[in-house]
Homo-oligomer: 404 residues x 2
């Protein structure tokens, strides 16, 4: 099933697909053996935009990035996995600043232009000795292959998540690339998970923020694995202008095209995050339509996507549409029960708020790894599309500590 | 650990412990073999109050009860399990009314005074033939033993839930009894689950509503199994005055005492519902204190109690307080990270928003079946106490359909 229209040319390389970016991923000793320190550098100072967790408990690197991103410019991002540097107090803030300073010194650039992110366990001090030790190797191995950096930002992820597309802007081929990490604490509430996006387009700082917000609202803000919003959620976007096209400085057709391509990369990464959700065996596209407003549609979708009863029914491939209606009913969205219709994989199971058709084909559809759940509220034009995973024994095992 | 001060004399008998009530529970054929039809009758017309689901998708019996409860008086309640009569349209409403009418006719009382409730699968028509067939047996077996009725309202529950206390009101021994069903779709959002309460106290209709709201706000509105609010949630309270004490008609000390005793019964039943939550192996009392307001405290507790990551950590007996802070941080409650303190089973694990003390004793505590999690936000006087279960493989198995 096509989840997103593929209107852009996919290219290889992730965050280093755009011109003028180099990356590295090394093992510095935070984790036992796996890569745990990633570095991303632009050859020149880039326009920068960021979105961050809405959680009131914010990790130290989030606080540091929120300060630095005010400049609207950055040249490098340093990221560690294995330790979230969250709930670590004043020491944590000092450590996050030092981590950026270490990268700046090793790269010979100004500390103000180095952004920082962390992911991993909460509440333990960041092992700065490891980061000090690892930084020279990270700088030494910087190159045009983004694969190692995409590995070094992972935690419980099963696979690395990268995407890149090419788009023609004003006669110039512009490339947009990205990488993400996911797995747990994932919920549609502003800039979920860690995601780093790069482009060789030239974009003014204000428009870059606008484009990032639009892309995140249609990608990372549309997914849910477990409804838990992380303390570390960060999405950063660097635009270095290396493609040589005229700077995008007004809100016209070229900017719309750029934003759509950026959304395409972000949505690809967001869907990978759901597919690789802790324990996930299903990727269900949840489309709510006919809502009184987009925010109503989003509320209804969020209730469905986070309901443990819906998520276990998805796992069990049971067309238990009563759970879907119960979730929609408690969502806060305007609902008239007798207007609700539901389709699973194209097979209608609810009309006028009650059973319709044969549940057999819907049940058969649900045995697939990916399918679509459509809920029509019959009240207006509001729509929202999101992506959810299932809830199963593997999620419980991972998070009960058996595997951590 | 004492979860609620036991200030009232516990008595046996559940809903038939108060004078002037009889009950029955029979098998009528909705389920394969287990009891599935319960009847509760007062010897005389009783004052009645009710609270119902806040879900916009409401089952037919909820709609019928919400109409009838306006009278403020009732004499009988008929309940079936095995079928929720929810999402059943106009036929469902007609069936719910007929179910009440059948009981009224068999009892020789007015249909207006018979309330009705259903629980079980959503979306299937209520098998009225079974209910017609079972009603005479239910009436025939009415008696002073409430045990059979408490069995007949269960669905996936592992055990029947009854409670009763005696309280001295104005020199007269007044009894309050109750029964409940629980298991799934349980969340603190108004009158969760099915619960039937009886008392031989005489209480004016307005005060009875006030007492019921107060009791439910400190019991059923404080529990969470899976965050899903049912379409059928109903709490009904009948007060028949058979104890012979003067009618409680003003908001004085006697009324306060009655309300506290009623709350005690409701809280006992609510805790049983959590203990018997689908798959539940833990009962954790979550106390949030130091919040800016009670509603902030409730929001923080609700986020903790419904977080899949906290619930799996409870299952795994891991003192993963980072997940608790992350849940509090996204709850919407006013939070200053550096003011937060956390105790698990009396052992402090967080002070000033960061790690404090040895997590060993806290981890040991978490291996018990019941313990307390205290979160102090350090901002004010707002408190809230709730009860949560864990999330484990058994919950997934039950709800993925293996056992239904």
């Amino acid at each position: 099933m096509v989840i997103q229209a593929e209107q852009f040319q996919k290219v290889e390389g992730g965050i280093t697909a755009p011109r003028g970016f180099r990356a590295a991923g090394v093992h510095c000793g935070i984790k036992a053996a796996k890569p745990d320190l990633a570095l991303l550098v632009s050859d020149t100072l880039a326009t920068a935009a960021g979105m961050f967790t809405t959680n009131a408990v914010r990790a130290a690197p989030v606080i540091v990035c929120q300060e630095k991103i005010q400049l609207g410019a950055a040249q490098a991002i340093v990221v560690n996995s294995g330790n979230a540097n969250a709930c670590t107090g004043a020491q944590g803030l000092a450590d996050a600043r030092e981590m950026a300073a270490l990268a700046a010194a090793a790269l010979g650039i100004a500390e103000e232009f180095v952004l920082v992110a962390s992911t991993g366990i909460i509440g333990a001090p960041l092992p700065m000795d490891s980061i000090r030790r690892g930084m020279p190797a990270a700088v030494r191995t910087l190159g045009r292959d983004g694969a190692a950096s995409a590995q070094a930002i992972l935690t419980t992820d099963a696979f690395a998540k990268t995407a890149a597309v090419q788009v023609d802007i004003d006669g110039t081929a512009v490339t947009i690339g990205g990488m993400a990490k996911g797995a747990g604490m994932i919920h549609p509430q502003m800039a979920t998970t860690l995601c780093f996006l790069t482009t060789d387009a030239a974009v003014s700082p204000g428009l870059l923020r606008t484009a990032l917000r639009a892309a995140v609202d249609r990608s990372f803000n549309c997914i849910s694995v477990d409804g838990d919003t992380s303390t570390n959620d960060t999405v950063l976007l660097l635009a270095n202008g290396a493609a040589g096209q005229p700077v995008l400085a007004d809100d016209g057709a070229d900017f719309a095209r750029f934003t759509t391509a950026l959304t395409d990369v972000a949505a690809s990464l967001a869907q990978m995050v759901v597919r690789d959700g802790e324990g996930a065996s299903k990727l269900v596209t949840v489309r709510v339509q006919g809502a009184r407003s987009r925010s109503d549609a989003k509320a209804a979708a969020a209730a469905v996507m986070t309901s443990p009863l819906v998520k276990t029914a998805v796992y069990g491939a049971e067309p238990n549409w009563g759970r879907v209606l119960a979730a929609v009913g408690r969502s806060g969205a305007a609902v008239r029960e007798d207007r609700i219709a539901v389709w699973i994989g194209g097979h209608q199971v609810v009309a006028g708020g009650t059973a319709a058709g044969d549940p057999g084909p819907a049940a058969a559809t649900m045995r697939a790894a990916e399918y679509e759940l459509v809920i029509d509220l019959g009240l207006g034009d509001g729509t929202f599309t999101g992506w959810m995973s299932d809830l199963n024994e593997a999620y419980v095992k991972i998070n009960a500590g058996y595997m951590t």
